[in-house]
């Protein structure tokens, strides 16, 4: 099946070749794990490697910051905007929701005028501003996601995780709505903070089941090898497998 490649070293292989077309994909992580970088890289690579125009919708960070941060990776977003291949749109959840769900809405107009194929929404967490009712929130997110899919976009939503390490708590059920769910985590290994990435789910496709280390390099995110000889990665405090073996069997 055709795949929408992220162009991120190591990630497409984890995803069985890339995201499935016209799907909603969630990337969850704590502050600084690289969610926004991953999103920008997905859009940038889509434009320069696959000629697929893209949109970035931001609810909090100013576009100016995106241009600046992207330039540090060698991605000239301003130039792509001038060429009509990209728009970094600052707006609010309520406006973006109406802008894509109503006929002739602003976001829909941008999508059609540019021929956009990819979109990043950074971050879907801000939809919580619209309601405190979790059932209504799930419904709002579901409608928004479906409206973007109707526009034949491959969507990437970032989501803020409130915990730096260890298990995160599900709070809106969006994990059930999306087609794939990637998690970015900090882990402590031998007194150093490292970053881990895994694919929690990918509807309709096989995907890597292991937890992999990644780095944010001068050219963007690079996914590396799996964590060897460690267990309990998701707890944030993994142990060497030999240690846990000793603890479980030898000390008794």
């Amino acid at each position: 099946m055709e795949r929408v490649k992220t162009g991120i070293s190591g990630l497409d292989e984890m995803l069985g070749g890339g995201f499935l077309p016209e799907t909603a994909n969630l990337v969850e992580g704590a502050p600084g794990t690289g969610k926004t970088t991953l999103g920008m890289q997905f859009i940038y690579n889509g434009i320069v490697q696959h000629n697929e125009p893209g949109l970035i919708i931001t609810f909090e960070e100013f576009p100016k910051q995106y241009y600046h941060d992207a330039a540090n990776f060698g991605w000239d977003l301003v130039d792509l905007e001038k060429k009509g291949l990209l728009k970094v749109i600052m707006t609010s959840p309520e406006v973006s929701r109406q802008g894509v769900q109503s006929v002739g809405g602003l976001i829909s107009e941008y999508i059609h005028s540019m021929g956009a194929r990819r979109i990043v929404v950074d971050s879907i967490t801000h939809f919580a501003r619209l309601t405190q009712d979790p059932i209504q929130l799930r419904s709002l997110e579901f409608d928004f996601i479906n409206a973007l899919k109707r526009e034949q976009l491959t969507c990437l939503f970032t989501r803020e995780s409130p915990v730096l390490m260890g298990e995160a708590t599900e709070d809106s059920g969006i994990g059930f709505i999306v087609d794939s769910y990637l998690v970015m985590r900090y882990v402590e290994i031998e007194s150093a903070i490292k970053k881990a990435l895994f694919v929690l789910k990918m509807r309709g496709s096989n995907h890597a089941k292991d937890i992999r280390q990644y780095n944010i390099t001068a050219t963007g995110i690079e996914v590396q090898s799996r964590f060897e000889g460690q267990e309990g990665i998701l707890s944030g405090n993994p142990r060497r497998m030999a240690d846990s073996f000793v603890e479980a069997f030898v000390k008794r």
């Binding site: 100013f62 749109i89 707006t91 609010s92």
Partner: protein
């Protein structure tokens, strides 16, 4: 003498590109408008309600609303209704965007900024 001094100051302060002088006198004739123009120049695809734009600009919605309307009337901003909510965004007009670029570039020069501030303050009297 004072009158001659005022004339001299006025001539000195008018010493800028006439197109930009007109832009400052008739379009960006308040500090809030100046802030808004700079914000939308830096974030050109922002599209939002008065309340949210005021929030981004760190100002009160009641102060920003009339200024946004003035910017719409002068062709710098566009307004569209989304349901019952007016949504403001930067104009798509290429000539106007070029003029805004020129204004922001000119503002990098301290002397230009001093002159622009002078005209805004005079306009507010």
């Amino acid at each position: 003498m004072a009158s001659n001094g005022d004339d001299f100051t006025a001539r000195l302060m008018d010493d800028m590109d006439p197109v930009l002088l007109d832009f400052v006198k008739t379009r960006v004739n308040s500090f809030i408008k100046w802030d808004l123009v700079r914000f939308f120049h830096e974030n050109p695809n922002t599209a939002d309600s008065v309340e949210n734009i005021a929030h981004y600009a760190g100002r009160n919605a009641s102060a920003v609303a009339p200024e946004l309307e003035d910017l719409v009337n002068s062709g710098i901003m566009e307004k569209r209704m989304q349901g019952d909510t007016p949504i403001y965004s930067l104009t798509q007009n290429e000539d106007m965007r070029k003029l805004i670029d020129e204004f922001i570039t000119a503002c990098e020069d301290r002397h230009f900024r001093v002159k622009a501030v002078y005209h805004i303050i005079r306009g507010m009297r």
